[in-house]
């Protein structure tokens, strides 16, 4: 749940998402769910000429499994906290495996 927990803190931030088929979409992260599906508002498709089917799209639901990268605003990430959260997650996983 670490990534879910993490992305939840980025709601209403502007992110750029690169899909596994190379489409890059910038927009406001409205919501994320446990599968890391992403809802983007006010989207802006980079290289729109190549993807005419997205030309009139304003909001988007992106399935988590097709996301390659999410580019996020650095200032909105608490790195120390994230490190600790990662440690906890690792400890949890180790605890569960046992």
């Amino acid at each position: 749940m670490l990534f879910f927990s993490f992305f939840k803190t980025l709601t209403n931030q502007t992110v750029t998402i690169e899909l596994k088929n190379d489409i890059r979409i910038r927009g406001t992260l409205k919501s994320v769910d446990q599968y890391l599906n992403i809802k983007l508002d006010d989207v802006d498709v980079l290289d729109l000429d190549k993807y005419p089917h997205l030309s009139s799209v304003k909001n988007m639901f992106i399935r988590g499994s097709v996301v390659r990268y999410v580019m996020l605003p650095r200032s909105e990430v608490d790195i120390g906290l994230l490190e600790d959260a990662t440690r906890r997650e690792a400890a949890n996983q180790a605890g569960k495996a046992r």
Partner: protein, 181 residues
């Protein structure tokens, strides 16, 4: 030596500034009441409901959408129903075929799409949908279909080459066996 306490980096759960005098048992932690009384006020977090697939699809219900499937198909229709797996029901669907600078529409009807095949789901701006980008032209289905077949073939060959090269370097293809676009 200045005392840069003020710009010390923020530390998680660190209620006291570092360097403050402490005994071995830190002060400032009142006894915890872990029972959740009816009046307890949690931190002002967003409701967990916001972070569900349901919340994401709620706004898209009964809207005209473009659905891109993992095999690259583009369907345009009205989202009528869905569930937590993002399985979808689309009504009055057309499939729009793109190839080169051409496109063609094929009326399809009702779709029930299994969630795992969904790539993205975009809400169409009704005011903008008729502004087809100027470099794109409508053509007959046959024409677009033939062109697309050619394009797909060419891309498949290219992908195979690329994957072959990457695999020798130890990279497994990101979406092995599937055409994703």
């Amino acid at each position: 030596m200045p005392a840069p306490e003020s710009n010390m980096e923020r530390l998680p759960m660190n209620e006291n500034p570092a360097g403050a005098h402490h005994g071995n048992a830190p002060q400032g932690f009142p006894p915890q009441n872990n029972t959740l009384g009816p009046m307890s006020q949690g931190p002002p977090q967003l409701p967990p409901q916001m972070f569900t697939t349901a919340a994401q699809l709620l706004d898209l219900t009964d809207k005209k959408l473009v659905l891109v499937l993992r095999d690259g198909r583009k369907l345009i229709g009205v989202l009528r129903s869905w569930d937590q797996f993002a399985n979808l029901v689309l009504q009055d669907t057309i499939e729009r075929l793109y190839a080169g600078n051409l496109y063609a529409d094929i009326p399809r009807g009702i779709f029930l799409v299994r969630g795992e095949n969904v790539l993205l789901l975009g809400e169409i701006d009704l005011d903008k949908e008729d502004d087809i980008p100027p470099h794109i032209q409508r053509a007959s289905f046959q024409e677009v279909f033939e062109l697309k077949k050619k394009e797909d073939g060419a891309r498949k060959v290219g992908d195979k080459k690329r994957h072959g090269k990457l695999q020798t370097l130890g990279f497994e293809p990101e979406h092995s066996g599937e055409i994703l676009f």
